[in-house]
């Protein structure tokens, strides 16, 4: 505590900086900073201005080590800066050293490692060296770097920028997407625009509701306002029902469990943001608490899990309205609740796909990770769970979230967005499916989040498998009902089975709740089908739907439906051949020297299709892969040999990632991927036709 005061008492601090770029002689500069207002970020900006640095650089400061010898220590954060300042003796200079990172200066190294310009405009200059020279990968990389450097600078980068980035959407542009009644027209182009450039902060409030699938299709401007008003009223009604119980002291186990967890977490979510800062009684913190508690209380199959506060917090910051934030949160969670299911299958799948993508695009790096036993990538758990929200500075996180959301095809609610999972209020307008099944006994044990008062739902998942016999019995009994609701059961039986187990547990949960909330059974039956249909949504997500992200020339093909090729064996040799032909990266794969394990294997293994990749969020996987691949040189040249070293490396990069650079490359790779998927599909279709002729 005293340290902080010491910082506040400091006036100007004189700084002496030495810049080294590894080749020329060092350059020195002197200036002063006010430690009370100079953050690490400000210091970085000052330094890049002072030395006119455009690329990446690292900062270190002169300090005494344990033996009292002066050594340069990395300065990576505000904490380091504080340490550097506090270590100064009065009137001494803060001695800094700036090291340029030559590889990354001025151009994007990874563009060159993956010189795959777009399939429709092959770049012979990039292909020939890799296919004809018997050089090692490294040599090749350097030689390509040299020959391509100027070209890249002159053409490639600006071309890439032009194709894969645009300025954020402005008010004028937004209005161009609305007709005279304020109805959203060209929704796919609208998403594409957000995907390429994000949104001006002031517009976020409006654009986020649209890309989070809050509205049914075709609402005019006034109708959207009315809709939000009606939904807000509905929200407050739902919220006040548990609040009433809360203040009357009618604390159920469930309510107590949830409020305890949520309270603890909202006090630790984005509190460095002005919006949530200050005392624990900050009304925005309370609003976040209300949003999360209401959601958990009305969605017993999801309840509350850590990570959700990180998803809800930006919504509240942008909407500045509790009810609106809740409505958006429901829109977001419709897709993302899968991440928080106790079986962990969604995340397991995402990890698996991330590894596949890395193996596909950079087999050398992938085998490096495998050889060093770091391919578990456990540090990516947070990236995948909260979709990179934590990895970027807050403002950047808002940007990356909207880009991710807009990368997904629209999924508007048929009538209106559901704010509850079960019949929290008896609205009585649902009908249809039959409420079957349910051994209520399974409820309490398999969903400890709603039943146990444990501070940690330690038995989630394990109990489900522990009661295997019982569960699988009821699952198989029930499965027919679900087959009718979801046409995708053939896809992945095992996943489905576990899924059914969960659904069954949910069903029993509702059974129990039905006794609390009378006459809601029809309602809950209908909603019971929803998780299932949400699941099948992923599987019927068609290529034509993601095509909107491709450059306009490709949008013309809109009648394609990837589900057509789902019946093809995935190990079919011909699609692989297509990948090799249409994906220039494969040319480089074949040039990797023979000692590098399994490039052929990895290039053979086909990437998951867009509707499978990332379990409903393919672009996220590309973003994560890009972040990893952009560090691959650093990782390999520093010989980071343990998972832990990698993890520490990426922990240090938290909130310091270069958003623009990551987005640019991820967009580019993703677009290429979609194109390839399209060509695969073309191929499959023509094969199917050939097959038909043969018969």
């Amino acid at each position: 505590m005293t340290d902080v005061f010491a910082l506040h008492q400091m006036d100007a601090v004189k700084v002496r900086v030495k810049k080294c770029d590894g080749q020329n002689t060092a350059v020195y500069k002197k200036f002063s900073i006010d430690p009370r207002i100079t953050s690490f970020e400000v210091l970085r900006k000052l330094l890049s201005k002072a030395f006119n640095i455009r690329g990446e650089f690292s900062i270190s400061y002169l300090a005494r080590d344990e033996a009292g010898k002066p050594t340069y220590t990395s300065l990576l954060s505000d904490w380091d800066l504080d340490a550097a300042l506090l270590g100064l003796s009065p009137d001494s200079h803060l001695r800094l050293k700036v090291d340029l990172q030559p590889v990354e200066e001025g151009y994007n190294d990874w563009d060159i490692i993956c010189p795959v310009d777009l399939p429709d405009e092959p770049s012979s200059a990039m292909r020939s060296p890799s296919s004809s020279h018997p050089l090692s990968f490294r040599d090749k990389f350097i030689s390509i770097s040299k020959t391509m450097d100027m070209v890249t600078k002159a053409l490639n980068l600006s071309e890439v920028e032009r194709r894969y980035a645009k300025p954020p959407m402005t008010d004028v542009e937004y209005r161009n997407f609305l007709d005279s009644d304020g109805r959203l027209v060209r929704p796919l182009e609208f998403r594409r625009s957000v995907f390429l450039g994000g949104v001006d902060h002031n517009l976020r409030k409006y654009v986020w509701r649209l890309i989070l699938n809050v509205f049914p299709d075709g609402l005019a401007g006034q109708e959207r306002l009315d809709y939000m008003k009606a939904k807000s009223t509905e929200y407050y009604r739902i919220r006040d029902s548990w609040k009433a119980r809360f203040s009357n002291g009618e604390m159920t186990h469930q309510l107590q469990f949830i409020t305890n967890l949520v309270r603890k977490d909202v006090l630790r979510t984005d509190r460095t943001q002005k919006f949530y800062a200050g005392s624990d009684e900050n009304k925005n913190v309370l609003a976040l608490f209300n949003v999360l508690t209401t959601y958990a209380m009305t969605h017993p199959s999801v309840s509350y899990c850590q990570g959700m506060s990180d998803l809800a917090s930006p919504l509240l910051v942008v909407m500045k309205d509790e009810a609106h934030a809740y409505i958006c949160f429901c829109g977001l969670m419709k897709r993302m609740k899968r991440n928080f299911r106790s079986d962990g299958l969604s995340l397991t799948l995402k990890f698996d796909h991330l590894k596949k993508i890395i193996a596909y695009y950079d087999p050398e790096f992938h085998s490096y990770l495998v050889q060093n036993d770091c391919d578990e990538l456990l540090f990516c758990y947070r990236w995948l769970l909260v979709e990179l929200k934590r990895e970027f500075a807050f403002e950047d996180a808002l940007h990356i979230l909207e880009v991710i959301w807009s990368s997904l095809p629209p999924d508007p609610p048929a009538h209106e967005l559901e704010l509850t999972e079960m019949g929290f209020f008896d609205e009585g307008d649902d009908s249809g499916l039959h409420f079957t099944r349910g051994d209520p006994r399974t409820t309490t044990s398999s969903k400890s989040s709603s039943g146990h008062s444990s501070g940690r739902p330690s038995k989630r998942g394990s109990v489900i498998s522990g009661e295997g016999d019982d569960q699988s019995h009821s699952s198989s009994e029930d499965s027919n009902d679900y087959v009718l609701m979801s046409d995708s059961l053939t896809d992945n039986l095992e996943k489905q089975l576990v899924y059914l187990e969960i659904s069954t547990a949910d069903a029993s949960q509702r059974c129990r709740n039905a006794s609390e909330v009378s006459s809601s059974s029809a309602d809950s039956q209908c909603r019971l089908a929803r998780p299932s249909s949400a699941y099948s949504m992923d599987n019927t997500l068609t290529d034509s739907k993601v095509e909107f992200l491709l450059p306009p020339s490709n949008i013309s093909r809109t009648n394609s439906d990837l589900s057509d090729i789902s019946s093809l064996p995935s190990a079919d040799a011909s699609p692989t051949a297509v990948v090799r032909r249409r994906w220039p990266q494969s040319v480089m794969d074949s040039g990797v020297d023979a000692s590098a394990p399994s490039p052929s294997e990895s290039s053979k293994s086909q990437l998951p299709r867009p509707q499978e990749l990332g379990d409903g969020n393919p672009f996220l996987i590309f973003l994560c892969a890009t972040i990893l691949l952009q560090q691959r040189d650093c990782i390999m040249s520093n010989q980071m040999q343990q998972h832990f070293e990698l993890a520490m490396h990426f922990d240090k990069l938290i909130k310091r990632h270069n958003l623009h650079k990551i987005l640019l490359q991820a967009r580019r790779l993703f677009t290429d991927y979609l194109k390839t998927q399209q060509s695969l599909q073309d191929e499959a279709e023509s094969h199917a036709e050939d097959g038909a002729h043969n018969f």
Partner: protein, 216 residues
């Protein structure tokens, strides 16, 4: 920097008991009252000295509310030491210790040294768990015990270092097979003999072989 041994630690315990704060106090010697909750796992490292030997600690700080079981098992894998933390001002966090302990024993090597920490001992007025209870629980389950405060730094250094001492003693007595990295111990460049597994390239001297001791 060279080191004789590398130990992997894992910090576990209920959400909000101060696991991340203990780690930060240990690695950075500061207390941060406002910080983001841990999702998944975070990491910290520090060098310490035991019996004149440099030992590098690799610390895995896990999330208290764990909803992804398959990944937890990965955290435990190869941990030589665990800090099991509860909050002396919250009885429930003490009551959940048995669950945590079961988990830890199930997923880790049987030799893993577990240190029980009653955190937030600066908040004496709000105490809900007596020190004697913590001591008794630790004794009963074969753990070392300390009350600590991440805020005042009381006993934080000691908790991490005493755990390392215990591991070091076990190595000396040949309880740990240090050639087996699954035990969470790795020989540093000072120790590793050429060709010995777990060593780091550029090993100098065969000092390790004498200590590589019996296998369990």
């Amino acid at each position: 920097m060279s080191y004789a041994y590398l130990f992997k630690y894992i910090i576990i315990g209920d959400t909000g008991v101060g696991k991340s704060c203990l780690l930060l106090q240990f690695t950075d010697k500061r207390f941060q009252p406002v910080h983001d909750l841990t999702i998944g796992v975070e990491f910290g490292a520090r060098m310490i000295t035991i019996a004149g030997k440099q030992i590098k600690l690799q610390i895995w700080d896990t999330a208290g509310q764990e909803s992804f079981r398959s990944i937890t098992r990965s955290y435990y894998r190869g941990a030589a030491g665990a800090l099991l933390v509860y909050d002396i001002t919250r009885r429930d966090t003490f009551e959940h210790l048995t669950n945590w302990l079961e988990d830890a024993r199930q997923h880790s090597s049987s030799n893993m040294v577990i240190m029980l920490i009653g955190n937030k001992c600066d908040l004496e007025s709000r105490r809900e768990v007596k020190r004697e209870e913590g001591e008794a629980f630790a004794r009963e389950h074969g753990m070392i015990f300390m009350e600590a405060s991440a805020k005042t730094a009381q006993n934080v250094e000691e908790a991490f270092i005493n755990t390392a001492k215990e591991i070091y003693d076990k190595i000396q007595e040949g309880v740990f097979d240090i050639q087996n990295e699954a035990n969470g111990i790795k020989l540093g460049p000072e120790h590793a003999a050429p060709g010995v597994g777990g060593g780091v390239a550029g090993a100098r001297g065969p000092g390790a072989s004498s200590q590589a001791g019996g296998c369990c």
